[in-house]
């Protein structure tokens, strides 16, 4: 495997999909038990990056094969494929995984949505009225139970810039965030902590007091661009920081595990043109 290098002075380049995946990976803490939903290549690749860099003792559960700590030969374009079970220490049954998740033994799950609101509610069911949708989306899988009990959720979207994804109110709430029409997580008796992070192709939000706050931003994005693309008002963290760049080790894992570039499917062609350079003078990315 080779890393794109610059003039032999330690400079290297990477693209937004790679930086995005690394940002997702860094939301995983070591020794966490982590799961991704199907149809989520960025989260899927991110889990393998974490397990091969800073979170070597995590428990990685593949999203549709329920394989535990596999070493996929490559990431295929479908989540239920034998390639994802390679060298798995064990394969959970469907019910073994979901039982663990609803009793509270899964620490983190990655969730996305066609719409996401300021409280971290997500919609993967339908845009427009449910009885006559404008767009019928695929559906939530296990989300409307998992979101209640998994300890932490990392939300993500690669379609923030479209202006249609981060909305004031979801047309339909499939998976619950911090505050719903019926009450807060506490009022509804949920045992999980809800959304902890929201990573987008423009920046990173956290959820102090349950509402999204902009914490970090990519260097080629302005705060005004984030505001223009976001359908809800949000606070900005004091000392808004740039997203930390990826390390060589993280990039190496991405390029080795995802040679087909399945992660890129989540981005528009225009976003994939975003290339970054890391070199002397831009700070340590180790």
């Amino acid at each position: 495997m080779t890393l794109a290098t610059g003039a032999g002075d330690g400079t290297f380049t990477f693209t937004i999909d790679e930086w995005f995946v690394v940002t997702l990976a860094r939301t995983i803490k070591d020794t966490e038990a982590v799961f991704h939903g199907f149809g989520s290549p960025c989260a899927q690749v991110a889990m393998h990056v974490a397990r091969h860099t800073h979170a070597r003792d995590m428990l990685l559960v593949e999203g549709a094969t329920y394989a535990v700590n596999p070493e996929p030969i490559f990431i295929p374009p479908t989540g239920n494929d034998l390639a994802l079970q390679h060298r798995a220490a064990y394969q959970l049954r469907f019910e073994e995984f979901f039982d663990a998740a609803i009793r509270g033994d899964i620490d983190r799950m990655f969730l996305s949505g066609g719409q996401i609101d300021a409280w971290g509610n997500t919609n993967v069911t339908a845009v427009g009225p449910i009885d006559r949708p404008k767009v019928k989306l695929g559906g939530g899988g296990g989300g409307c139970n998992l979101a209640a009990t998994i300890r932490h959720l990392t939300l993500w979207t690669t379609r923030h810039r479209s202006g249609r994804t981060l909305v004031e109110e979801c047309d339909f709430v499939t998976d619950m965030g911090h505050r719903m029409k019926d009450g807060t997580r506490k009022e509804l008796g949920f045992t999980g902590g809800g959304p902890e992070w929201l990573v987008t192709e423009l920046g990173v939000f956290d959820f102090p007091d349950g509402r999204a706050r902009l914490l970090q931003i990519f260097p080629d994005v302005t705060l005004d661009q984030v505001r223009d693309a976001t359908g809800f008002a949000f606070d900005v963290a004091v000392g808004l920081k740039q997203v930390s760049p990826p390390s060589r080790a993280e990039l190496a894992v991405i390029r080795s595990i995802d040679p087909l570039g399945v992660r890129g499917q989540e981005f528009s062609a225009a976003e994939l043109q975003r290339v970054f350079e890391h070199g002397p003078g831009t700070g340590c990315a180790c």
């Binding site: 199907f38 149809g39 989520s40 549709a64 094969t65 030969i73 490559f74 374009p77 479908t78 989540g79 239920n80 494929d81 034998l82 390639a83 079970q85 394969q91 049954r93 469907f94 019910e95 979901f98 998740a101 609803i102 069911t125 339908a126 449910i130 009885d131 006559r132 949708p133 404008k134 767009v135 019928k136 989306l137 695929g138 559906g139 939530g140 899988g141 296990g142 409307c144 139970n145 998992l146 979101a147 209640a148 009990t149 339909f172 709430v173 499939t174 998976d175 619950m176 719903m180 029409k181 009450g183 509804l188 008796g189 949920f190 045992t191 040679p259 087909l260 399945v262 499917q265 989540e266």
Partner: protein, 305 residues
Amino acid sequence: MPFFMDPDKLVTLEQAATRVSDGDVVALGGGLSARLPMALVRELIRQGRRDLHLVGSAHGIDVDLLVAAGAVSICEESYVGFEQDLGLAPSYRRAAEGGDFRIAESCCITILTQLRAAEAGVPFLPVRGVKGSDIRSLHPEYAEITCPFTGELLIAVPALSPDVALIHASLGDRRGNLHFDKPYVLDERFASASKLVVATVERLASTEEVSDAGITVPAHLVAAVAEAPFGAHPTSCYPDYAYDRNHLREYVAAAATGKGATEYLERFVIGAQTEEGYRKLLGEESLDRLRGWKTSTQAWKELFA
């Protein structure tokens, strides 16, 4: 749920599909683009089955074809689509947007819980989630219940016993013992919760061979078994073959319009007349390519490139 004691349940695919009636609650085995019971799906369409109520977890072309054929009145799957790769399910989406079936979208865990209630013969079981989600609004049959021990408010979901479960397996014998590899998805639960299991197998084998491979679903739960090589195509049935991404991509492109979906059905389902006709249409070369995933990592990767 009832036990089926007949020592010989081998039937033709046509006979197997007649065990499904118009209006039935049908559980589809497999998941996403893996081990979907496609031979049975195609045969149900050929036989003109109507008014089906589909239940299950995350599915793809099985649901989409049945919807395209106008066979579905209620869809209670947790997801229908082709993931990030090929996107939304075109016929399912079009029919949902047109109000052609009732959207009763569910959750993998809720369906699992409902099947477990049926397996245990109890009328309901509780779930902790669903509260706060609009999924609840699609299910007037759910109820609130207060735990008599802790006082916690939970959602009670009723037992679900599908009229028939359709399962595709790698191996099976005449009695109906089935073997297939993980992930089993909901198939084991469907098998014991449903009133009837109708199975297809890649290859009919002796009881000894199936037993040596490991019995995933036992014969006493299975009412009928038919041999259907490439019965999961265009989805995968490992270790026999990988999924046919090219075929799925062509289907998704064709089904972007109602006319295209109808043309696909006319060519590959109705026009093919039988599964033998279907395999002939696909061609031996393309089927060999799918079987060739195991020859090298490169060959496997190329199937997905």
